[in-house]
Symmetry: D2
Subunit: 260 residues, 4 copies
Amino acid sequence: PEDTLVSVGDVTIGAQPIVIAAGPCSVESNEQLGAIAKAVKATGARVLRGGAFKPRTSPYSFQGLKTEGLVYLKEVAQEHGLPVVSEITDLSYLETFAEHVDIIQVGARSMQNFELLKELGRTDKPVLLKRGFANTLSELLMSAEYVMSGGNGRVILCERGIRTFETATRNTLDVSAVPVLKRMTHLPVFVDPSHAGGAAWLVDPLALAAVAAGADGLLIEVHNDPAGALSDGQQSLTPGRFADLFAKLKAVAAAVGRSV
Amino acid sequence: PEDTLVSVGDVTIGAQPIVIAAGPCSVESNEQLGAIAKAVKATGARVLRGGAFKPRTSPYSFQGLKTEGLVYLKEVAQEHGLPVVSEITDLSYLETFAEHVDIIQVGARSMQNFELLKELGRTDKPVLLKRGFANTLSELLMSAEYVMSGGNGRVILCERGIRTFETATRNTLDVSAVPVLKRMTHLPVFVDPSHAGGAAWLVDPLALAAVAAGADGLLIEVHNDPAGALSDGQQSLTPGRFADLFAKLKAVAAAVGRSV
Amino acid sequence: PEDTLVSVGDVTIGAQPIVIAAGPCSVESNEQLGAIAKAVKATGARVLRGGAFKPRTSPYSFQGLKTEGLVYLKEVAQEHGLPVVSEITDLSYLETFAEHVDIIQVGARSMQNFELLKELGRTDKPVLLKRGFANTLSELLMSAEYVMSGGNGRVILCERGIRTFETATRNTLDVSAVPVLKRMTHLPVFVDPSHAGGAAWLVDPLALAAVAAGADGLLIEVHNDPAGALSDGQQSLTPGRFADLFAKLKAVAAAVGRSV
Amino acid sequence: PEDTLVSVGDVTIGAQPIVIAAGPCSVESNEQLGAIAKAVKATGARVLRGGAFKPRTSPYSFQGLKTEGLVYLKEVAQEHGLPVVSEITDLSYLETFAEHVDIIQVGARSMQNFELLKELGRTDKPVLLKRGFANTLSELLMSAEYVMSGGNGRVILCERGIRTFETATRNTLDVSAVPVLKRMTHLPVFVDPSHAGGAAWLVDPLALAAVAAGADGLLIEVHNDPAGALSDGQQSLTPGRFADLFAKLKAVAAAVGRSV
């Protein structure tokens, strides 16, 4: 069967061009988000990413700006003409997400939140479905099936690293997931090198590897002040480093017959 | 500090006696549940377990009787004087669970559903919090903290097997979790040998090992007709085999200074 | 088929009585070993364990007393009437081991050293074969087959913890390995709670769990001065704590129809 | 410090050009090896790989041609002017390997065979040290240290996939190992996509990902008749498919500033 193409605004995911989604881990303010959006768009990112409802291991960590963050995302996205992707953490927020966000992200910890998946299947919003950090690829496809069996076929899969015994990286990027998923399904496959490696210096090699292995898109964390970020600063690129990476991505994409 | 005791009806969890919760994976009918409840109570189980909202990897598997199942659980529990534990899969069901169920179970796939945990923290219902199959013990405690920081200290932790490379068992029971959690926290610790091993013949040795290692309670799947069960039949004990196991548990519990 | 019994001196492994092998991680001197042997024998250990050729992750760690250590093991073992088990790290030491040691241990890192296994299959020495920390149970049995296909059926299997994502314990004791191996094979199954947990306070619960799950024997590290031990002091019991554990093992063994 | 360069014949490993080692899993005959060597050299491989002593999980699988295989390797290598790499499985074969082989490979199962590593440290042969499938990168470096502390600094590290819960691929290629090892050490880093994925259709994307991530070389299994291979046929490329891959590698290597 033919590959599934997911279109949002003027961006098409799953086609020849590789789509780069970039932005901060957490939305912190309208200004912060605007500055980052401007920079990553100028570089070539086609989608803006940013977290407003943050799933955090500890209840005492920053939990996100919540609806306020979604409002900023919508404002900034419209100003810069970028569709926006953000993570939903509970079904009860679905209406708000439907209003503010172009692509709804299901995070690794929610990959088997089946009630949420079923409801997303009843919407017409594209869903970026991240692999749980201990879920097999076949379970990931079953979760995609929860969305699609509800009538919403606009699912984008995303590899973001799995749990292994290795501690040198935060998680182990399973780069094989890209060719395996492309062979098992017709859905577009993204990779999130920022969360997989957990360190800014690892983003470049992992992003390049993902593109070489056939990824249809990347999620890259970019922050104007990584040292001062409210979450995940250690794995965020500055806009300058993001531009450097973008140039390398262009070269590797071309080497495998694609563009960014 | 002193150990936390969680009392439900006339059952106290976390004290010297080990509490055995038994019952079917899924509630299938009032009759099925009644027959199993009668049998396990006669043997010595102090809590009835049964699933009504079933989180299933595939959308095409049996999804549970839902609210109808909770109604049966409440009826049967009252008839037999057993408190009941059942798994919640979404925040939106909280009111129904609060009405029908004595202990609310958070399943492995929801251990990091932080929105759910926060709301459970605002109730006064005991929460049986299962470890995610790829979550560390320290993450389990952080999730317990989400509940407790909301004001609900009645949390019971539960080890149910983790994902490893080994395929001879469904998951790998991490029996060390029992002493580690008992050392790191004052909360009661349960073990679910049925889900960990995934096979009826493994339930006895794993249950005995858990008690020997210091578990405060066990969750055991018991079904009157395992071969005909709508879910997890292969790991369910018949009432007769459950009675055999109970006798062995009594002996091992006594050997470590406890009773069942 | 009937269970395999492995007899060494007046000790029979695989029969009703559970066999406890105890002793230091490393043989450090004749005096140290003699003191420990005397103490553990008085408590009830039936086999003396001690390492002379030490496989160490770093080349700069203590590598063992080598042949000198084997000589001490033999002297002390004879003095106290205890058979001795020690780990071989290379085929070229086989003759020396055959002369000094009653049971030859193949360590986790050598479980798939097939050349070594083949040669051990040509001897008549009992072989204690430890599971590699990332080997499946079916691979462990294949490695046993390497020994047995050479003609030596006196193989004792040993679970010693596997590598997982959990970091609260050094390795994760796979207690299910005991019933699974007992079902798949007729060979005796030992458990090493000292290496699995990596901490003295974990030895008791893990040892008790292993016995409750059906283990035929245990390897316990005992040291007269854990704080001064040349290796693995943090997981060694003093002779006094070993005696305390022994009393508990007696009770749990009796509860499952066995003795120690 | 400067990067370590390992030179063998006219091949330099660790410099700008990426070195491709190709050949059959097992040497099966002089003719088979000659045909493959001719083909892979014509395509651009700089090193010939081939196994003569085969470590096999089961004692009943093909164990390799042993010394006869090494003889063929040497003859064919000389005829085609290619240095040869082959795996040693026991210390006792060291002299034979030193005579027939240019680069001695230590396989994943032997990564912590410390006696072997120490002896290799006393030779002047380059050592290709494969990461054990459950060893951390820091343990891999400790094993390299065993070789280097003996005086032999000519060590090449090799990532070949690790054990995880995922079963869609034979092992999980840890592509992050490349940048992590390049950052932690000055040694050249190879990747073996054939063993990692365990399937011919996965070799291309994994090989390209490895090069994009910064690998200094690749080990690729090539067989003239994969369906008839005595071992690992399912993951071997035909010479034709190897040539196709080589063209793609050239493009990706150029994109990251290197050549093959």
